[in-house]
């Protein structure tokens, strides 16, 4: 097996500019393939899971057991007329879906899919991820304003307020992990959690990092659990999923900021939402559940199998998001802000304080 994808390409066509360019293209295109493939599966999973939760069958006609339904939906969207409202701000309106998608897509650059594959090795990987998720906000605001539609405007305003607010508890939750790991590099974080389930950050992180023979790592477990819950809740809000789907609250705002969009532009919003769901789930799996590590040392832990573990863990969280979506009602916008600023942020602050204290005085 090769050390990483880069050396595989060098081995294939020899060292030189061509290899570098090819490597960049491959590194940039691979996530797109992953996203598109994953989106097809996730859309079907959402349809089927929601159907089962609601005592229905879900799509059954398109292909055996309805598995071709996502493909049919995408084909339909491709054929639809691409409309732009007459009074829309055309530039903003047309650019917005791409910015939203780019914001989600950029996150995939820093995700460590396996020990041998990470799009870009950024030593402040998690910081980068928080930063690029902010780009989505710009796109949503452009979509809402550019549509020249009151529902879209209300939706985008809500969305911006919500995403910006919820980045704070998410950031605090991430900070606890970063303090234990002592690094912001996603790949290093994964490497630290090698050696079995007890080394995952949700259980206090690797024992080698904690002082006194690793005994104090267990002390961190309850606080990491709180961090994890904070992160999951905040990530639901950042991806605009129920119970925080206020920006696109169907019963109030029709479809929120993408009310006026049709055809491929709508599909891009749709794709971005699913890509975003995957990205936040993948981050959760890296931060708390060992990333590409197998839960048991020596059990299916070949480097390339890391991809399976990584995607498997991320998809599990995506499924949990789908499950939550079809179970809970929606919060109101002021209740949402109340939860963020008056509940989650104090909890996040407290967790950071406690974890910081433990890490400073007991570990290392």
């Amino acid at each position: 097996m090769f050390q990483d994808l880069n050396s595989f390409i060098v081995d294939l066509i020899g060292k030189g500019d061509l290899a570098d360019i090819l490597a960049v293209v491959v590194y940039a295109a691979l996530p797109l393939v992953v996203i598109l493939g994953y989106a097809l599966v996730a859309i079907l999973a959402e349809m089927k899971l929601s159907a089962w939760l609601q005592d229905r069958l879900g799509p059954m006609r398109t292909g055996p057991w309805g598995i071709l339904q996502p493909l049919a939906d995408i084909l339909k969207l491709l054929q639809k007329e691409d409309t732009t409202p007459t009074d829309a701000d055309k530039k903003l309106f047309n650019v917005a879906p791409f910015i939203v998608f780019i914001g989600s897509y950029l996150a995939f650059a820093a995700l460590p899919f396996a020990s041998i594959y990470a799009g870009a090795r950024i030593n402040t990987g998690i910081f980068y991820l928080i930063a690029v998720s902010g780009i989505v906000v710009v796109g949503i605001l452009m979509a809402g304003w550019g549509s020249n539609n009151k529902y879209a405007l209300l939706g985008s305003m809500r969305s911006v307020a919500q995403i910006i607010s919820y980045e704070i508890p998410a950031g605090l939750a991430i900070l606890s992990v970063v303090m234990i790991a002592g690094t912001m590099d996603m790949q290093t974080m994964c490497k630290l959690q090698q050696g079995g389930i007890q080394n995952w950050f949700i259980f206090g992180g690797p024992k080698s990092l904690a002082g006194f023979g690793g005994n104090y790592a267990w002390l961190l477990t309850p606080f990491m659990l709180v961090s994890f819950i904070l992160y999951i809740v905040a990530s639901l809000a950042e991806t605009n999923r129920v119970p925080f789907d206020i920006p696109e609250a169907e019963s109030e705002l029709v479809a929120g900021y993408h009310t006026e969009y049709s055809a491929m532009k709508f599909a891009l919003f749709f794709l971005a939402e699913y890509a975003n769901m995957f990205a936040v789930s993948a981050i959760a799996s890296v931060l708390f559940f060992g990333g590409w590590n197998s839960p048991f040392p020596g059990f299916l832990d070949a480097p390339w199998l890391g991809v399976i573990w990584f995607i498997g863990k991320a998809v599990t969280f995506v499924l949990i998001q789908i499950w939550i979506r079809w179970t809970l009602p929606r919060l109101r916008v002021d209740q949402l802000m109340h939860i963020c600023w008056k509940v989650m942020i104090p909890f996040g602050m407290a967790t950071v304080l406690v974890v910081g204290t433990i890490v400073t005085f007991l570990a290392h």
């Binding site: 209300l154 916008v333 002021d334």
Partner: protein, 400 residues
């Protein structure tokens, strides 16, 4: 009346302050109120209703409902139809509870003609009315949940409603608009399977009732959304003419099945649930929802009693009392029944003809909807949708 009020509403001044361009000071821009048209094409208006909401940010300053998108001249049509021919039109008013509407109309004409009904017919009528009440409340509860963002309970409710529709389909062949309850009788006798289906339905529906309570009613997020929202005090409710769950949600114990008994409702034991403000203020959206949930249970109780007492060996023809010629003597009548939405009244004037000279309908959904502006001022846009859902309107009945 609907038309007159509609016109009045259109002329109501909408309080939007327009500042002339030259008077705007760029350094002291203040926030403007925004007029948002909710509907007639909107997922949560429960039909073709248009709400003109004046918003300050997300705060609802005022809201005016605009009606008439589904107006089909029911009252004028009735004047051109013979008495039995009106019944299919009655179905199309409250299309979520046509059995209730049919019973109201049939009772009115029967009272004009002094028709005595066979006992079996009375039992079937009450049985179907209570099934219909449950079916209608299932839609109300489900869509109310959906307005609050919970999608799944809606489908559980519709799954149960399907059973009711199947019972009706088995009996009269129609699933939505039955033309089943006739003046002086019924269009068909009960299918032999129906009583068994009803027994199975009662059992299943009790389980669903529990499930919906767990999943929706006592869900923390749902309670937060519904409690203390759209508070309708009892005096306002009475003055505004509210009826049905809307009135009972405000704590007023008023149900025509008890207060002005018709058919054979006096033979059955059932409670009249009223709002208590159990999660917030008396008369809020949660209370209205809770009243519907309790009525669902009470209707199941009534159905159980009917199934016990039902004269199964009675082979009377259900059309025995149907008059050959329906031609009430000259006179007028106001007859009312308690539908799933409240007091449905028929005012019929007869001029000794086979056609009614005038049919006026007092529709509960229309009256309840007129209270919407009063109970939704000062809440958020998201609450407006929840409040509208809790009123449980059927536009077919509002516009007629």
């Amino acid at each position: 009346m609907a038309e007159v009020l509609d016109r009045k509403m259109q002329t109501l001044p909408v309080p939007v302050k327009v500042v002339p361009a030259e008077k705007i000071e760029p350094n002291r821009l203040r926030t403007e109120e925004m007029v948002l048209n909710v509907g007639p094409q909107h997922p949560s208006t429960h039909g073709v209703l248009r709400l003109e909401a004046v918003l300050d940010g997300e705060l609802v300053i005022d809201v005016v409902p605009f009606l008439g998108y589904l107006h089909r001249c029911f009252e004028k049509h009735s004047e051109a139809m013979t008495y039995p021919q009106v019944i299919p039109y009655v179905d199309r008013m409250d299309y979520l509870a046509p059995m209730n509407g049919e019973l109201g109309y049939a009772l009115a004409v029967e009272r004009m003609m002094n028709i005595e009904l066979p006992e079996k017919v009375e039992y079937i009528r009450v049985l179907f009315n209570e099934l219909q009440r449950i079916a209608s409340h299932l839609v109300a509860v489900g869509t109310f949940g959906m307005d609050a963002g919970a999608f799944t309970p809606f489908l559980y409710c519709f799954r149960d409603r399907e059973d009711v529709l199947e019972i009706f389909e088995k009996t009269c062949g129609a699933r939505l608009l039955y033309n089943y309850i006739w003046v002086g009788g019924l269009s068909h006798d009960l299918h032999p399977d129906v009583l068994g289906m009803c027994r199975a339905f009662v059992k299943k529906s009790r389980a669903t009732h529990k499930e919906v309570n767990e999943l929706l009613t006592f869900n923390k997020i749902f309670v937060e959304r519904a409690a203390n929202i759209g508070v309708l005090p009892a005096d306002v409710a009475i003055n505004g003419g509210a009826s049905g769950p809307m009135l009972r949600g405000s704590g007023v114990k008023w149900d025509l099945r008890r207060n002005d008994p018709y058919s054979i409702y006096d033979r059955f034991e059932f409670d009249i649930p009223v709002g208590t403000g159990m999660m917030g203020t008396l008369g809020d959206c949660f209370d209205r929802h809770w009243v519907r949930m309790c009525e669902w249970e009470q209707s199941l109780n009534i159905i159980e009693q009917i199934l016990e007492k039902f004269p199964q060996n009675d082979k009377t023809d259900v059309q025995k009392a149907v008059p050959k010629r329906i031609k009430p003597a000259a006179g007028e009548i106001y007859s009312r029944v308690e539908t799933a939405r409240g007091e449905l009244g028929y005012y019929i004037v007869s001029k000794d003809d086979i056609k009614p000279w005038r049919v006026k309908v007092r529709s509960p959904a229309f009256v309840n909807l007129s209270l919407l502006p009063i109970i939704s001022r000062g809440y958020l846009m998201a609450d407006l949708i929840v409040i509208l859902g809790s009123v449980d309107i059927v536009l077919g009945e509002v516009d007629r």
